[in-house]
Amino acid sequence: MPDVVSEIRRPLIGGNKSYGEVTREVCAPLDRKSSAAWWTTLSAALAMLVLGVVAVTYELRTGIGTWGLNNTVGWAFDITNFVFWIGIGHAGTLISAILFLFNQKWRTSVNRSAEAMTLFAVMCAGIFPVIHMGRPWLAHWVIPYPNARGPLWVNFRSPLVWDMFAIGTYFIVSFTFWYVGLIPDLATIRDRATSKIKKALAGFFSFGWDGSNRTWQRYETIYLLLAGLATPLVVSVHTIVSWDFATSLIPGWHTTIFPPYFVAGAVFSGFAMVLTLMLIVRRVLHFEDYITLHHIGAMSKIIIATGGIVALAYATEFFVALYSGNEYERFTFVNRALGPYGWAYWTMVGCNIGVPQLLWLKKIRSNVAAVFVISLLINVGMWFERFVIITISLSRDYLPASWASYSPTTIEIATLIGSFGLFFTLFLLFSRFLPMIAIGEVKGILRYGRSNGKEAGK
């Protein structure tokens, strides 16, 4: 039967699915045997992960000296990776919470995997503040617990303590949010599972969900509450991360525009990463009907918008430096662009300002391959943005006598690769063992843009 399509609103989900089809199709990756492609990708990801584990073990055993850091440049790859991953994570929360609040129905196709991405990115991010410590076995000292030392507390004025609370809260809340959304889907899996183990596991983790209307009502309430809480949370998290730098007095770090700049950058990079992942997932798991060109277009537009904010931030930084009349500040920015690390700066500008402009063209927006490449480049650019801010600013600060250069060691590069390995490993496992798309939510919008809902039930 030909689908009746609204003049104004096109359906969010293609293919004229029935509820049952949605269930079947979304659960399909869980039901079938893992494909060779999945195994190959997982092996690659695991290999990267193992490399990272080896590198981190070596570093923990031998000392931070196995990184290329020095007395002047105390942070480089470690915190760059940390901020990068945290930034990646933000798109997930944004998609699930902010778009929810703004009633953007198209989010339902991507929010589950975006939230999962958040969790995995935060895990990757969370590793770095711990392993970057000289004595990570004492990392628990950052937590203000009662102790036999006086008691001696922590310094609540330190942005690192704020970070600890922010990242911790962010992870817990994101996980909660993600898990709450997963409960009805786990119940679906439970009810259609054929294998006993699967049924038992899904049964255990679905908390006894039965689709009761009363529960759905409360569920909707807390989902809204969580979205309302997660939205300021995500802004606060990256604001706090930016305060790591903004509250310091290193030229290039000490800037008031960092919070919005970092949040925009995080959203920008996060959406790029969501795009990267979604385009792969769409292709590999055959979710073309769920993740449509409309989704890609919408995300591309967000990228253009946030990319614009980021470009504005870059310009503002230079203006602030110029206008400040502070010679250290001015030098720092000239040095960024023209100094020995200029190549990093121009990589950043090229990838973050230049490349996204291509998305203005509808033709490119609807070209999956082009969008994929652009999303990858943006990720590269955003990694360099953090590298530029952190490393270049540190390498030439106040006293010329203490200027120093930095270059990464094998261990640092391996650690970065390892974090990608961890991320992809987790994501692949997720794609195999949990529904990538929020089944319940997609069903809720299945009738969106269609005049007649009767067919949906058939």
């Binding site: 102790n147 036999a148 030392r149 006086g150 008691p151 001696l152």
Partner: protein
């Protein structure tokens, strides 16, 4: 088996273990790093109870550097010999020997107690306190009881001259046959004493006990 019974059984077992653990080792269990209660066997069974308790020797009589040095110091072997070149055994034993000798109408023999024998041996002396041919005097290697981590700087002199009693930290040493660590020597324990002393003073005098980090850590 009935579920409930099994459950109760398991729970009770756990409780029992805990109770046994807590009661039998309540005084024995220390968290790692805390050496409270450490009471090593010393090479010579020197009795603080006898010397500091019964004979009322001041702590500084032997640990004479405690008032002027970081370390209270282990008394030198010569310090022991200062007295024990005359006193070779407990006074009651000597008196008993004197009585025996008086009864037997002979010269009283020199009695050397087992522990003092070890002292003389270390000094390279025989029991008549004559140098043993070929013996090299070697200081006794006592076992250290109270030891702070290296990252803590503790100065005995500062505390003694501020009027702190030795017993405040070391406990009633004058009642101990064998020295035992009675305080946990934790940072909180130190700091709280400092705070208290600053508030109340020590022996009626105001003190300025540091509560800054660099009072102890550098």
């Amino acid at each position: 088996m009935n579920n409930r019974v099994l459950g109760i059984f398991l729970g009770a077992g756990l409780l029992l273990c805990l109770t046994i653990f807590l009661t039998s080792y309540a005084n024995n269990v220390r968290l790692p790093g805390n050496n409270e209660g450490y009471e090593p066997v010393q090479p010579i069974a020197y009795s603080h109870r006898l010397h500091a308790g019964e004979l009322q020797l001041a702590c500084l009589h032997c640990h004479s550097d405690a008032g002027r040095s970081r370390n209270a110091g282990i008394p030198t072997m010569q310090t022991c010999m200062d007295c024990h070149k005359f006193v070779t055994a407990p006074i009651l034993d000597i008196r008993a020997e004197d009585r025996r000798a008086a009864e037997a109408k002979e010269k009283p023999k020199r009695i050397v107690s087992a522990e003092l024998h070890k002292l003389y041996a270390a000094m390279g002396l025989d029991d008549q306190l004559r140098p043993e041919p070929g013996a090299v005097p070697r200081a006794v290697g006592w076992i250290r009881v109270h030891e702070l981590p290296d990252f803590v700087y503790f100065n005995h002199g500062a505390h003694v001259s501020a009027g702190a009693e030795c017993q405040t930290c070391h406990g009633a040493i004058e009642t101990m046959e064998r020295v035992r660590q009675v305080s946990d020597l934790s940072m909180g324990w130190c700091v709280n004493c400092h705070r208290g002393s600053n508030a109340t003073g020590v022996q009626g005098r105001a003190v300025a006990a540091p509560t800054d980090c660099s009072g102890c850590h550098f």
